[in-house]
Amino acid sequence: MTALISARDLTKKYGAHVALDRANFSVEAGRIVGLIGPNGAGKTSALRAILGLTAYEGQLQVLGREPFRERSELMRDVCFIPDVAVLPGWLRVDHAIDFVAGVHPRFRRDRAVALLAKTQITGKHRMRELSKGMKTQVHLALTMAIDAKLLVLDEPTLGLDILARSAFYDALVNDYMDETRTILITTHQVEEVENLLTDVLFINRGHIVLDSSLEEIATRYAAVAVPADRIDAARAEKPFHERRMLGKVVLYYEHPDLAKLAAFGELHTPSVADLFVAKLSGEPE
């Protein structure tokens, strides 16, 4: 099975600043992949490159195409929702549907209309009259009505309240995702997407720090909450990160010897958010 997205030595420079530094990663079909990294790590540059919005160095294939050279062809199979503010204020909801239906061969108008019928948004509304949450609903309805192979989400819930966020992800998982689709998502709110992801890509300073499925994480990493008296013995097993909390120290291990570690304290698989902090704190400055 070939990868849906494959990047080799993907590099993006803005003058002297290197946003992506020979990044290597691949995304398989049918997965929900979180691209996670701190601000300025290169997330947006990676997405822009994948979407053909920017030139780059190195090799990049998305659905067998070169994104920058073939953006318009690629967009028949790829959908993109950046944060909420990109639908133009002057555009009317019914016109937006008409337009996408007119130019997109894979758009199913009835599905978009059905999705919007569940909301309080009417066709005559202009985008500038809608709240951020409503605009996201419109964008999501337009996007989910397209039979795309890859959906790219860049901080899609930025500026939304908790209810709107939760509604957004519910719609994504329940109405959209199936085995023929692949989702690539970047977000700061790791906790929020953790239970929908199948894979994570950690990115820092333009490098891919971790490229792993969640099942692999469960076997490859372990965290142990160790009481103070057993800390020296636990440290001898070479944890890659330590975190103090409530009188205990949580130690993080890669390729753990579970039998040994169980003796030090309570074993668990680290959450994606914790693993992210652990991995990136361990990085040299």
């Binding site: 919005l53 953006r71 967009m75 503010a85 133009p88 016109h95 130019v103």
Partner: protein, 291 residues
């Protein structure tokens, strides 16, 4: 082709001024015809009725055309910049529409579609005004506005002017698109600065005025290239009014110099420069998404 139609439709949604400005101008002229004091006007009997009809048609036409040139300039400067300013470029680029199609649809909107809207508006305005005036005013004025052959000539003139202006002003329009695709802010300023800098640099360092004269020529010479600006006597009718000879054109369309326009090297040099600038604008549109 279908995509292009949708893209043009989208321009009408975004820029309601495309039809609102000509509608307002037309409405003002019609109001003037309705409430102006035309009943006091009369034409001296020596003035040919056709000359009045021509003056009316050309006057209304030129008013629309003048506003059209200003609006189209503004439209071209704004069209690619506006998408980047409100970040909606990310939405438009998420659709399977190539940057070539986008840029060419904006160019076609500015050079063909918007002029056609003004043409229709000018026609409707002249017809309504002629009708109102003939009801309200003396029969001599009213009659002067109903020369069918003049009206038909005006149609030919409009179409000819739209086509020649689109070709003649292609390099300027494409230059405005380049600025619109490139500038991070202040598109108006950025459209003026480079030519101004070139003009001043040439004047100071070389001491010549080639750029100035070329630019002035491109801006102002369309009437000279596309029309017989100094036609011989056969194009004119002489009338004596108050002991003075008044020369009026024999017909509007006799001024059209299509052969001169299409055989002029200047025309095709402009097209070549315009094509090169369009390529630049598309390249910039492909690469620039930020403002």
């Amino acid at each position: 082709m279908n995509t292009v139609i949708w893209l043009v439709r989208r321009e009408f949604w975004e820029n309601r001024a495309i039809w609102m400005i000509p509608a307002v101008i037309g409405a003002l002229m019609i109001l003037a015809a309705l409430f102006g004091r035309i009943e006091l006007m009369s034409i001296p009997s020596e003035v040919p009725s056709r000359a009045v009809g021509e003056a009316f048609l050309v006057g209304v036409g030129l008013t629309f055309f003048a506003v059209l040139s200003i609006y189209s300039t503004w439209y071209l400067l704004d069209c690619l910049y506006a998408d980047r300013k409100d970040r909606s470029v990310l939405f438009w680029k998420s659709l399977p529409i190539s940057d070539w199609t986008t840029v060419l649809s904006k160019l076609a909107t500015a050079l063909l579609i918007i002029p056609l809207v003004y043409f229709v508006a000018a026609d409707l305005t002249t017809l309504l005004m002629a009708f109102i005036v003939s009801v309200r005013a003396s029969s001599s004025i009213g009659g002067a506005l109903w020369h069918v052959d003049l009206w038909l000539q005006m149609q030919v003139l409009w179409v000819y002017l739209i086509v020649t202006a689109a070709i003649w002003y292609l390099p300027l329009a494409a230059y405005l698109l380049v600025v619109s695709a490139w500038a991070k802010r202040a598109v108006m300023l950025w459209s003026i600065l480079p030519p101004l800098a070139l003009i001043l640099a040439e004047r100071w360092f070389v001491g010549t005025h080639v750029i100035t004269s070329q630019l002035a020529n491109r801006l102002l010479s369309l009437p000279n290239v596309a029309f017989h600006s100094n036609p011989g006597d056969k194009f004119w009718v002489s009338t004596v009014v108050d002991n003075e000879v008044v020369r009026t054109p024999a017909s509007i369309s006799s001024f059209i110099n299509a052969y001169g326009f299409f055989s002029s090297p200047e025309t095709w040099i402009g097209v070549a420069v315009g094509a090169a600038l369009i390529v630049c604008a598309v390249q910039l549109r492909t690469r620039r998404t930020e403002t």
